[in-house]
């Protein structure tokens, strides 16, 4: 199963729920997922939390027919790389009809269930995207 332990998920839960990443005030670059060190400025970087608008566009996508373990019930599902308007890109599921998917299409974030560790186990929530 592609799952994570409770503390591992909880550690970045706020970032997952609210699309909170980081912004380096030194080089003005935005990062999502959040980072503890600016990859451009390294030790000279000055990072602060930043809440992304969530507006973005589809850089590329696929329709997954053979699912990752634990995602079997969701097939076929659309997985995409979303380029956020502030700059960074992330991987997420796109809640859309595969037929409607296009590179470059505008998307916005939605709060969704990602999966569960078992039938009676923890439910993971996070951010997916839908067409604008």
């Amino acid at each position: 199963m592609i799952t994570m332990s409770v503390p591992r998920f909880w550690r970045k839960q706020v970032a997952r729920y609210n699309l909170i990443g980081t912004h380096c005030t030194n080089c003005k670059t935005y990062y999502y997922p959040p980072r503890n060190m600016c990859p451009k400025c390294r030790r000279d970087g000055k990072l602060e939390n930043f809440k992304f608008s969530g507006k973005g566009e589809i850089l590329t996508y696929t329709v997954i027919h053979t699912a990752a373990e634990g995602f079997e019930k969701q097939t076929p599902y659309v997985l995409g790389i979303v380029k956020l308007e502030e700059g960074p890109s992330l991987t997420s599921q796109i809640v859309a009809d595969p037929e409607d998917m296009k590179i470059g299409m505008k998307v916005r974030p939605v709060f969704r269930k990602l999966g569960e560790s078992s039938e009676k186990g923890m439910i993971y929530y996070g951010t997916k995207f839908v067409p604008e």
Binding site: T3, M4, R8, L59, H65, A68, I81, P88, G115
Partner: protein
């Protein structure tokens, strides 16, 4: 720094080898390479082994010690054994670390090996294990699979450059045609473009025949200082370059999704070290974990311009007899992909080709060959160049 030569090689049969364990298969490869090099156990200074995930595949870590033990090199000789890991580039990394050890002068005879035993668990569990080569926290948890990540590379490559599903399929068709002539290959049957396009969709646009299989197998090479290589063999193959480069672990953080920048950089570093260019290479084994990966590889290594890999393949330039034969072994697609072993197997194929021992898949007059081994979706790339001439 000393020049390094490969003096012995062996790859086991690749496939679903339910009758063989990890320790059995790696011992077979090691012994075969030692016999090929006519080296005794007492001469071995060190073992470096590439293994991606004994922990997940067979719940066994401490693979280095296990191998030394079962090869009879632990209890009396106490030969040091080190496991290295870079996902599917673990084998290439083991070779590189072995070359470092010999080149530095610290060790003389080093066994560089790779092994993976992947079929003791279900293919679903194996896919989960492989997904650990991507970013578990920000890719895997969203439902990303490895075919899914490469499918996203393929989709954008098609969008930007007009690459077609037929061109992707041509990679699999060509590699299966090569695999027919490789006695150790997992698949030794020809397939057609139609077969690929009719096969089930795994992650659109990649069909199951666009994907390399799950495989058991091991491979080993014996490294020695070039100055004493002729003591062991009449046909030492010399290491002209070893290089490695890193990129972001997650595909979404790359500068360009259709370029494996680690491959570009490792390629450049290797050509610089060997003082060669892509035009000098007679054949190359690239990391075709998916058909799109071979197209990206030949572009990123400089054999063809970015975006033209599909057309180049379709025109037959990468077949045996073409401008630059790619994956004469059958590649990961047809020969199989025991992840930790692949990087070593690639080197073994080049050595057999440069020795002139490749039988029906022999590239005429092969003098210089190259290997390209990738970890994950491109976070690690390892490149080597080998030559008949020192």
């Amino acid at each position: 720094m000393r020049d390094v030569a490969i003096i012995g090689v062996k790859t086991t049969r690749f496939g679903e080898n339910w009758d063989v364990s990890l320790r059995d298969t790696i011992t077979e490869a090691g012994v075969g390479a030692l016999e090929d090099a006519r080296v005794t156990g007492e001469e071995i200074d060190a073992i470096i082994v590439g293994n991606m995930s004994g922990g997940q595949f067979i719940e066994q870590e401490h693979i280095g010690a296990l191998i030394a033990d079962y090869a009879g090199l632990a209890k009396e000789l106490h030969v040091p054994a080190t496991r290295v890991e870079a996902a599917c580039a673990s084998g290439g990394l083991a070779l590189r670390q072995g070359i470092h050890a010999v080149a530095s002068g610290l060790e003389d005879i080093v066994v560089a090996a790779g092994v993976e035993k992947m079929t003791d668990i279900s293919s679903t569990s194996a896919s989960t294990a492989l997904a650990a080569a991507a970013d578990r926290e920000w890719e895997g948890i969203m439902g990303a699979t490895f075919p899914g990540l490469y499918a996203m590379i393929a989709r954008l490559h098609m969008h930007k450059y007009g690459t077609t599903s037929e061109q992707l399929a041509q990679v699999a068709v060509k590699n299966h045609a090569n695999g027919v002539h490789n006695p150790i290959a997992q698949y030794r049957n020809k397939i057609s473009v139609e077969d690929v396009l009719r096969s089930i969709m795994v992650a659109d646009p990649l069909h199951i025949f666009d994907c390399s299989p799950i495989t058991d197998g091991a491979s080993a090479v014996i490294l020695a200082p070039a100055d004493i290589a002729h003591k062991y063999t009449d046909t030492p193959i010399y290491v002209k370059a070893t290089s490695q480069a890193s990129d972001t672990i997650a595909l979404h953080d790359r500068k360009d999704i259709t370029t494996l920048a680690a491959s570009v950089e490792a390629g450049k570093r290797a050509f610089k070290m060997a003082k060669l260019t892509p035009n000098d290479i007679d054949l190359v084994e690239v990391h075709d974990c998916f058909t799109i990966a071979e197209i990206c590889a030949i572009e990123d290594l400089g054999f063809v311009k970015k975006g033209e890999g599909g057309k180049f393949t379709e025109e037959g330039n990468t077949a045996i007899g073409g401008k630059i034969p790619v994956n004469t072994s059958g590649g990961l697609k047809a020969c199989g992909h025991p992840v930790g072993a692949t990087g070593i197997k690639q080197a073994v194929e080049i050595v057999e080709q440069l020795r002139g021992d490749a039988g029906k898949r022999q590239v005429d007059g092969a003098e210089i060959g190259m290997t390209h081994n990738v970890g994950g979706s491109g976070a690690t790339a390892v490149v080597h160049i080998f030559s008949r001439d020192r």
